[in-house]
Symmetry: C2
Subunit: 500 residues, 2 copies
């Protein structure tokens, strides 16, 4: 049996402290599978003697390992390698960065878990529409977190008002003023992200069997909520300037829905936007047919080509629009914070639904984000993210203009985080996903954004550029486009086969 | 018109910095209503001149006011008193401390908003079953928060695994081992509090019209979820040792429910516990009739009189029990964190429901709490809370033994946070609530814990001692008991009136 101490060599002249060296080396041995789960590590006394280092060095390294989840201690028996943690830790880490996004669905997870989409650290990730962790303003957020803890102490951790911490509702109203949406803190409901907002509205307004209108394709997370609520989805094909108003009115008359769900600006997944003219008409229809509209303001702030779309809420004279805003795309998705502007007529039901859902959103996070806005960090950071995304947008659309084969249809969205490619009819998207994955390029197949299965909808893909570093964009798009081109050629040659 | 500067006097010899004095004085003027919303404050230059202080003093005071939400600035126009914040701030603060609890329902809110229950800072609060903010381990939590930010940086804020951060699932399993519940990190689903757990299970298992069995009375937040889901509630009267097994089997046969919701130990609101014998039988029935059981482990750890109840999950051989645990009562309710142990057969549905609900629980909070457990803070703090609550329990039961009038029935629960008083039939609980509130004593009327309205259920109240300082308990209980006694006397004298 090999002594663990034999596997550890120190660089005694290095500037890296010995305990860090020991910690790093043990971590390697665990990650690499040399030390498997539930193996007992040597005692502190034994290891310090064998390695010729101070006991404190070993104690500190073990403590670090434990804090990082690599080992655990049983009082009185010693230190053990964590059970199954590291087996899954690597995948886990990759999943965090590459997959766990709002498009995660069982179907998509299935592709990954079955190895149909492989994940490596070098993957170029067009699947995730969220910022990479290196863009998060962690230092500024740390400042406000500590200031709030100092200021509010225990009050930050008590039960909070279900509608939300009052000062943050005030701060939000001030920020919104700049986006031309006027509102009052009393109209605001704080939520743990847009996903929860959709869930709460569904609880407040939908009963089993009720109809809801959605665009088609649309955000998979919204479809999941409406289905889970037992609602019937009447989906309307989304055109480049929004849904057809005729089809919409026909559908409303036929199904008498209570609710319509739309992402009017830079829609997810298509990037399409509803024209300002259609927005006005949409509001008129809502008024005429007594309908509430969920306006999912996904990323309307990311207007890169001066399209100047008006939020539905800014034109909402008859209080029909529920405006939902997430901070996941501009700020930090793991924070789980967002808000809704709720029409007065349904506010009571909404607060009650929020209370039944999770009582309130974390008080600490609400208070910290409030201070983040009040200190001016938010304005600074949203401008920073706008610039980052704009650069990625331009790089991506340029690469597409350069490399895209002729049979592929795409419309420049002018903003947002997503681009929708429509491939030739009958194109094998699953095969494309697999081939690209083998070349370390991942993206979302279009079919996961549809609420019903129809074969004509299977020839699309969504490219998100939010997570892709500028230096990888051209290579990624070129590889994707070449693969499409090659598959097309093959397909053509099949098609051109003489009929026997 | 009065100059604001005339209302401000400094104590120039005081050790309190001038900017703090200015901040405090302006705060008073705003809170007191002298400066009303949207009033413009004097310019920094003007005020510093009038007051004879450095500009930096005024700037700093204004900044503090802004950070606390008392004022806001419009770039280029100046500083203004916050719109309506302070009008509601005082009530808001009181509500946070006194009312916003898991028993908050529209009905209860109605009592408060209509002044039927008055709230003052000197109220003795038997309505809230949660710890007061002074008991929260804010300093230790600050340590782990900062360590996590240092260690994980942006990764703490990315999308997280919907099932939960793996290391915390591991830590939880280790903590649970001490409570004799064995489980595997893969069986754990992290949730944003027990309320969300109940909501997610309902999404995963209940369709509109499905039956669910609950105890009667029970936790009002659970009733709200089941009703919101469109489920039919079959409620079974809770006896002092649990539901009658005969009634339970009869009800199962009649309604064929999918799910049973129970708080077996120190139930909320009654404090009653299911006997260990009945627990075994309950599991047998679940197995026989293909039923899942939600075991809401509210406060089983608070066993003050050595009752040694066994968690259902610890005896659950056929994987029928969904074990839900909140950290709101022992730790900090505003954290919004808890977990479930989920039977393998429904785990996929549960993860999907969690994703549709809010994608994931805050990554920062999960990581910080994981480290809190790993550093041993949790063991220390839960022991601390146990001792605090035990003292309050003993003081409350002693006071009841001493003061309770003869017509009131109550059973010593032996643990938990709640005591249930059954008043004589026909007793006017609403009147009692009002009279006590006028004497600054608040508590929850029993009727809010019932899913159906039946007049015989209206003569009970719930006393929670979690939030009441030991020195106030005897006075509070004595006043309550005397009021009950006086009302009873009056009632008796009515009853004794000769029939004409």
């Amino acid at each position: 049996m090999i002594e663990i101490s034999e596997l550890i060599k120190f660089e005694k002249d290095s500037s890296i402290p010995l305990y860090v060296q020991l910690f790093e080396r043990l971590k390697e041995l665990i990650s690499g599978g040399t030390l498997v789960h539930d193996v007992k590590l040597p005692s502190i006394r034994h290891l310090s003697k064998e390695l010729g280092v101070n006991r404190v060095t070993v104690v500190t390294a073990f403590k670090e390992l434990e804090n990082s989840g690599y080992v655990y201690t049983k009082p009185g028996s010693g230190t053990f390698v964590s059970n199954s943690y590291l087996v899954s830790a690597k995948n886990h880490h990759l999943q965090n960065n590459l997959v766990l996004d709002e498009v995660y669905t069982q179907e998509y997870a299935y592709l990954i878990n079955n190895g149909q989409v492989s994940l490596t650290e070098s993957s170029i990730n067009f699947a995730s529409a969220t910022p990479t962790p290196d863009l998060f303003p962690v230092d500024d957020f740390k400042v406000v977190l500590n200031e709030v803890l100092e200021r509010d102490k225990g009050n930050a951790f008590g039960y909070q008002d279900s509608q939300g911490y009052y000062p943050i509702r005030e701060s939000i109203c001030r920020v919104l003023g700049k986006a031309m949406v006027t509102c009052n803190p009393n109209d605001i409901q704080i939520i743990s992200g847009a996903q929860q907002g959709i869930d709460i509205i569904s609880k407040a307004l939908l009963r089993q069997g009720d109809y809801i209108i959605t665009e088609s394709p649309t955000y998979a997370g919204a479809i999941a909520v409406f289905k889970s609520r037992g609602a019937q989805i009447a989906d309307i094909e989304l055109c480049e300037d929004g849904m057809s108003l005729n089809v919409l009115e026909y559908t409303i008359k036929k199904y008498k829905p209570r609710l319509l769900y739309t992402i009017p600006s830079f829609q997810n997944p298509t990037g399409y936007s509803c024209s300002n003219h259609k927005r006005e008409q949409l509001l008129k229809l809502a008024d005429k047919y007594d309908l509430y509209i969920i306006e999912d303001d996904y990323v309307s702030d990311l207007d890169f080509q001066d399209r100047k779309y008006l939020p539905l809420k800014s034109m909402d004279k008859s209080d029909r629009v529920i405006f939902i805003k997430s901070y996941s795309k501009i700020f930090m998705p793991g924070l789980r914070l967002g808000f809704m502007i709720v029409p007065t007529g349904i506010l009571g039901n909404v607060i009650e639904a929020k209370h039944a859902t999770d009582i309130s959103t974390s008080g600490l996070i609400q208070r910290a984000f409030d201070l983040y806005i009040r200190k001016g960090f938010w304005d600074k950071h949203s401008q920073f993210m706008y610039n980052i995304y704009k650069e990625r947008y331009i790089k991506t659309t340029n690469a597409l203009d350069k490399h895209l084969p002729s049979g592929v249809i795409y419309k420049k969205p002018g903003g947002g985080l997503n681009i929708w490619l429509t491939l030739p009819p009958g194109f094998q998207v699953n095969t494309l996903v697999n081939i690209c994955a083998s070349k370390d390029i991942v993206f979302a197949p279009g079919k996961i954004f549809y609420s019903s299965n129809a074969s004509q909808k299977l020839n699309s893909i969504r490219l998100s550029f939010a997570s892709v570093y500028v230096e990888n964009i051209d290579h990624g798009i070129e590889t994707l486009c070449k693969t499409i081109g090659l598959m097309e050629q093959k397909n053509e040659s099949y098609r051109n086969l003489p009929i026997l």
